[in-house]
Symmetry: C2
Subunit: 335 residues, 2 copies
Amino acid sequence: MNGNDRARTITATDVARVADVSQSTVSLVLNGKWQGRIREETARRVMTTADDLGYRINQSARSLRLGSTGTVLLVVPTLVNPVFATVHAGAARVGAQNGLGVVVFPLGAEDGFGLFPAPRHALDGVIACSLAAEAVSNLRAGLPLVVLDDAPTPGTPTVTMDTGGGMANALAHLTALGHQRIMHLRAERLAWTFTRRAEVFDQCTLSHPYVIANHLSCSFMPAEVRDRMVQVLSASNRPTAVICDDDNMAMGVYAAASALNLIIGEDLSVIGFNDLPAAALVSPPLTTVRLPLGELGSRGMQALVDLRNGAVNEPASLLTELIIRKSVGLVSTGT
Amino acid sequence: MNGNDRARTITATDVARVADVSQSTVSLVLNGKWQGRIREETARRVMTTADDLGYRINQSARSLRLGSTGTVLLVVPTLVNPVFATVHAGAARVGAQNGLGVVVFPLGAEDGFGLFPAPRHALDGVIACSLAAEAVSNLRAGLPLVVLDDAPTPGTPTVTMDTGGGMANALAHLTALGHQRIMHLRAERLAWTFTRRAEVFDQCTLSHPYVIANHLSCSFMPAEVRDRMVQVLSASNRPTAVICDDDNMAMGVYAAASALNLIIGEDLSVIGFNDLPAAALVSPPLTTVRLPLGELGSRGMQALVDLRNGAVNEPASLLTELIIRKSVGLVSTGT
DNA sequence: TTGTATGCGTTATCAG
DNA sequence: CTGATAACGCATACAA
C-alpha cells in the first residue's frame, strides 16, 4: 500500500548499501574525484555495482545541490527557417567551451509569440533570439538573459546585427544601377530586425526624391509571396527592383517573375536577406545581404558567460555584407 | 568570508519570513492551492511580498520534490532541415495536452553523431528522431525513450514512416512512364530512413531487369549536389530520372540541369523526398514523396506519454504519399 | 486557518 | 582512507 512495489529508481544510497560503503564514497567515486582518497579496489567495486544496478544520477538533486544545471535555453521564433541553426551552432560552440549545453525552444505562432511558457525545468540562463520585445519580458524568470537581434535594452546584454546598414547597402547598390521604382517586400512577422530595415528603407528612399518606393507585407510562405507578387508585377508601373526580408521570399518573387515571363536580373532585380544555401544555387544566383548569424550566437553565449561571471557587456552590433551575385542588373529601359 | 555578501536568490522561506507566515503557507498560496485553506488576506499578503522580493521558484528543488520536470527532450540530427520543425510541432502539440513541454537538441555532426552529451538537466523523457542507432543507445540515460524514424528495436516504442514504400511508389511512377536509366541520389548521412530507401531501390530495380540503376552519395548541400550532378549528367548514358533523398538535393539537380540546358520534366525527370514548402514553388514544381512528419511527432509524444503511464506501444509505421507535380515526364526518346 | 516536520537525492565538509 | 552529517529549496501529510 505504501508504494513498496512501485518501480523505484536506483539512488546513490542504494549503490552504497549494496557495495557496502557509505553514500559519500559512492558520490566521490562516481564523480571521478576518488584518486588518492579511495582505495582502488573500493572504487572499482562501487563502479561495478553502480553499473549492475543501473544507477542513474538524479539531475534535479544534483543541480539543486550544485546551484546550477549547466544548460541554457536558446529561444527562437521558429525552426522552419534554417538561420537559427547557425545561431545555435555558434552558441553551442562557445557554450561547450564553458561547460554549458544548449537546448532550443521554438516560440512559435502556436504559442502566441509572447506568451512564453515559463520553462519548467532548471536553467542557467536564457538567450532570446529575434523575438518580439513583449515576449522577452515574460521569459526572464529571474534568469540571466541575453538578447539577440532585438532592440537594445539598457541593462540587458544585447547583440544585434547592423541589419539597417545591410538595407542601406542594398538600396545603394540598386540606385547606383539606376533603379527608381523599388519595392520592399516585408516580413509580416513582428521583429525588431524587420522594423529596423523598414525604417532605413523609408528613410533612404525619402532622401532620394526621384525614387518611388513602396512596400508589401507578407508571410514567409513562398507560395503566398508568389501569388501576391504576380499581382504587383502585373501592374504597368511595376517596381524594377525588389528587396526581400528573407531569401525564401525572394524565391517567391522568382516564381512570380517566372509565371509572368519576366527575366530576373534583366526585367526585374531582386535582393534577399540571409544568404541561405539555396541563394547561391537558384538561377540566376541571388544577390543577398549576408548576416553574421554564427557570430551572433557565439557572441551571445559569450555575453551570457560574462553575465554569469558578473560582467554586463555593452550592447554590440555586428556588420553585415552584401553578397553580389546575378539577380540585380541595370534598370531595364523598356517597361 | 562565508559568502554572506554573495547575491543570494530569494527562496520561499525568505518570502515566508517577510510575510510573517510559514513556508508551507507560501507554497500553498503560490501554487494556487489556497482556496478554502488560507485566509484571503493572508494569501494576498504572501503574493505581494513574493512579488516585491522578486521571488522565483527553484525548478531544481521543485522537480526533485515532485519527481518530474514536465519537459521532454526532442533530439534531432540537425536544425538546418526544416522537416524537424514539423516533427517538433506535432510533438509539442500533444505534449502540451499532457502537461509536457518540449525542448530541442540538435545532435549535429560537430558532436560526432553518436557521442551524445548526456543531458545534464532533469528530463521526463527523450524522443530521438532520425538518429543513428549507436547514438540512441548512448542517450537513454535511464529515461523513458521513444524512437522516431529509426529501425524498430524490440522493447522500445518506435514510430516510423513507410519511407521504403515511398521509394517503391516513386520508382513505379517512373517505370510506368518508361524510364529505364534511373539514379538514386542518396544522402551521405547515415540514417535508417536512407538505408531503407536504398534497400528498396536496389531491390525494386533488380526485379525490373531492364532498368539500369545506379546511385551516388552526397551531402545535403545543394552546391555540392549540383557540381557532382553536372558530371553525371554530362555522360552519354546519363540517367533519365533521378530520385533524391531530399528536396534540397533535388534543387541541386535542378541547378545542374539548368547549367547543362536540360529541361526538367522533359530531358530529365526528378523526384524528391519531404515535400518542403519550396517544392511546390520551383519551376517546374517538384514531384516528391510527402512524409507525415507532423504525425510522426505527435504519435511519438503520445507513445512517450503512454510509456510514462506504463504502456509500451507497439511499433507503428505511418504511410507516405507521392505528390505528383510537373518534374516527371515520359522518358525522352532523343537521349 | 495555519504551522511543524519530513524527505526528495545530491555534494561537500569534517571527524574519525 | 572512509563514514556521518548537514544543507540545497520545495511540497505535503499531519498536528494544532
